[in-house]
């Protein structure tokens, strides 16, 4: 496929797609038109770079293993004014903690989350379920068969991660901050 047409097509696909678009999905759909993964990747990266400028209201970004079309965050107040919607609700400290635990230790149960946080987290987990940031992924085979929770694709998209493993290792974060004092 001609490079010009491919570029236009990629823009069109990302503009009309609901979620992140993976290279595989595009290549599979356009196999007959002779679009290869390398062609797509280089073209989409070129567009992402070309749109990443101050006078553009569109950005291409990677999330959850694909590409998607978003607006720059600094335009949010104007967009909200135009569409007449309130600011999206911030995630509470408790919600962020629960998300951090689920992301780092998944699959994990509510009792395990409660233990790590030292506080009851069931209401928070429910909120996160409602917001599709975590999901139920079976039950743990222990007494009471508690639900196991995992993060969702929506979680990856929201936090701009390709995979859950892309979150930094908390061990490294803490290690750089403080060296353990020698125990007496």
């Amino acid at each position: 496929m001609e490079r010009e047409l491919l570029g236009a097509l990629i823009e069109a696909i990302l503009l009309t797609a609901r979620g992140p678009v993976t290279t595989e999905a595009v290549v599979e759909a356009l196999a007959e038109d002779g679009v290869t993964a390398e062609e797509f990747n280089s073209a989409v990266e070129a567009i992402a770079v070309s749109w990443d400028r101050a006078d553009s209201g569109v950005r291409f970004e990677r999330a959850a293993g694909g590409w998607r079309c978003v607006t720059p965050p600094e335009l949010d107040p104007y967009l909200r004014a135009f569409h007449g919607v309130a600011a999206r609700q911030r995630l509470s400290q408790a919600a962020l903690e629960v998300l951090a635990i689920v992301a780092h230790r998944q699959p994990v149960t509510v009792p395990e989350i409660n233990f790590i946080r030292g506080a009851n987290s069931s209401a928070v987990v429910r909120t996160l379920l409602d917001r599709s940031l975590v999901r139920v992924a079976g039950r743990k085979k222990v007494v009471g068969k508690p639900f196991l929770y995992r993060t969702t694709k929506e979680f990856l998209v929201h936090f701009g991660l390709d995979r859950p493993e892309d979150l930094p290792d908390p061990e490294e974060l803490v290690a750089s901050e403080e060296e353990p004092a020698p125990a007496d």
Binding site: R18, R68, P73, L75, L79, V85, R88, R90, G118, A119
Partner: protein, 300 residues
């Protein structure tokens, strides 16, 4: 350890007169702070740090805050000091009528237990520091907080991103309904669905009708008529009666009388009239009436 925990922590009460030289130090009133100002965290040895009620997401959060505030190592927590400060926080929470969650009380009692254990002389064979479990819990929780902080930074920026077709994502409650555009057919359909669901959820109650015809009454009626008239055309009689319940009662009564031998039933051929005649058994009407009364008494 502060020795005045019993004197109350009323707002504005000067709990530490000996620190009067420094007016800043007098202010031990609980202060609600959403962000902890590092400048205010310098520990005053005489008074202890002012009680600050930040937004703590749990007892471990408060404990980490106190450890940072006191500039002590997480691996060597001065339990007595931290325990007292923890309790001061709980008291302040009570004063402000904040609901103190159970997990805070649980942590307070754990700290008290640790404090008392540390006061006792340690056994020779006791290798493990009693604080070990608490330290591990705190370290684990601190990792979670670090990760949560990273997620927070991302959330702040990324919840301002918009994507194509965003309006489809808005929950229906937030969109304003244009009444001109409401499809009446859909509205009616929705109404019917709601009513159907309601009907399924609320089946009509079982209605118990009053007992209008008693088999025993009908038995007496037929018996007396058969005895009096000598012959009774049953089907003709039944057809005359409009009430199905009465027909049923009458028919059952007839069967019962035939079974007892009080009346005889004759039928010339199939589907022909059924004639009732007096049977060999003489029915004790008094007894029947008595049975009736007893039955009615049971039912009442």
């Amino acid at each position: 350890m502060r020795g005045q925990s019993g004197t109350g922590t009323g707002a504005g009460t000067n709990r530490h007169p000996e620190a009067g030289a420094d007016p800043e130090a007098l202010d031990v009133r609980p202060v609600i702070l959403t962000r902890v100002n590092e400048e205010q965290l310098l520990v005053d040895e005489a008074t202890g740090p002012p009680v600050e009620l930040g937004v703590f997401s749990g007892p471990l959060d408060l404990l980490l805050h106190l450890i940072r505030q006191n500039e002590v190592s997480i691996y060597d927590i001065p339990i007595a000091t931290i325990c007292d400060q923890f309790h001061a926080h709980l008291e302040a929470m009570h004063e402000l009528d904040l609901e103190v969650a159970g997990e805070f009380l649980w942590m307070a009692s754990w700290l008290l237990a640790l404090k008392s254990r540390l006061l006792l002389p340690r056994h020779e064979d006791e290798q493990e520091d009693p604080r070990q479990e608490l330290v591990e819990r705190l370290l684990e929780y601190r990792r979670v907080k670090e990760l949560a902080a990273i997620l927070y930074e991302k959330d702040v920026v990324r919840r301002c991103l918009w994507t194509p077709g965003f309006d489809a994502e808005l929950p229906p409650g937030e969109t304003e309904l244009d009444w001109e555009e409401v499809d009446l057919r859909l509205l009616a359909k929705a109404y019917l669905e709601v009513m159907e669901r309601f009907a399924v959820a609320h089946p009509p109650p079982l209605q118990l009708m009053p007992l209008r015809f008693r088999v025993h009454d009908k038995m007496r009626e037929i018996y007396e008529r058969v005895r009096g008239e000598g012959l009774l055309a049953l089907l003709r009689d039944l057809h005359r009666r409009p009430d199905v319940d009465e027909v049923v009662a009458l028919f059952v009564a007839t069967l019962e009388l035939v079974r007892l031998g009080a009346v005889c039933a004759e039928q010339g051929r199939q589907f022909a009239e059924i004639y009732l005649r007096p049977g060999p058994l003489e029915l004790d009407l008094e007894r029947l009436a008595r049975l009736d009364r007893e039955e009615a008494g049971d039912g009442a």
